[in-house]
């Protein structure tokens, strides 16, 4: 079975500070991993994705994530956040053999001016 855990329901940071949103996954094979962002009353938009190769992947708006097989993690990072980054962030995993895609419970990010 595949699953994704986002242990932090809410994160609050000040504008200009660095950010890390945590994601842990459970999957027996090589995972396809994604981070999505959801702004109020909208659908989800892709930030970045990972399948293989360099464990550090770059995404939109200067977000990046680092895959760790040993830790079963795929944490999202940003060096300096902006107030417009306030949103809900979801980590997702796609099964390589069934194409089933599951999501974590999300982390609500609030950036204080």
């Amino acid at each position: 079975a595949q699953s994704v855990t986002q242990p932090d329901a809410r994160v609050t940071v000040s504008e200009g500070a660095s950010l890390q949103l945590r994601c842990k996954y459970s999957y027996s094979a090589t995972p396809y991993l994604f981070w999505y962002v959801q702004y109020p009353r909208q659908g989800l938009q892709l930030l970045l994705k990972y399948y293989s190769g360099d464990p550090v992947v770059q995404g939109v708006n200067s977000f990046e994530a680092e895959f760790s097989k040993s830790n079963s993690s795929f944490h999202l990072q940003k060096a300096s956040v902006h107030w417009s980054d306030s949103a809900v962030y979801f980590c997702a995993l796609r099964s390589s053999n069934t194409n089933k895609v599951v999501f974590g419970t999300g982390t609500r990010l609030q950036v204080l001016p």
Partner: protein, 114 residues
């Protein structure tokens, strides 16, 4: 960019009634998905499909049926709606032909069962 259109965008239904949520995608994706989003639960997978004529149970299929009559369309059916099915429902599509492909989401349907 992939276009996924959901209808209706808002729906109020009565308990015990039948509700059909529709989803259309225009990018010829093989895979389509239905999720519901609830506070504290994130997105939970209800049903998904590999192509026309196929439907698969997701993690929370009870109380829901799905139908994929064509490549473009994927419906979610609540035969006997209950208040516990009040939620925001998202449809998504993705291309199974690539190894590293994301899913694209519609804007959601807000369903209230009274």
């Amino acid at each position: 960019e992939a276009a996924v259109t959901q209808s209706p965008r808002n729906k109020v239904a009565v308990t015990g009634g039948k509700v059909t949520l529709s989803c259309n995608q225009t990018n010829n994706h093989n895979n389509m998905y239905w999720y519901r989003q609830d506070t504290g639960h994130g997105l939970r997978l209800i049903h998904y499909s590999y192509g026309a004529g196929s439907t698969e149970k997701g993690d929370i299929p009870d109380g829901y049926k799905a139908s994929r009559p064509s490549q473009e369309n994927f419906s979610l059916i609540l035969e006997l709606a209950t208040p516990s099915q009040t939620s925001v429902y998202f449809c998504a599509s993705g291309d199974a032909r690539g190894a590293n492909t994301e899913v694209f989401f519609g804007k959601g349907t807000r369903l209230t069962v009274v």
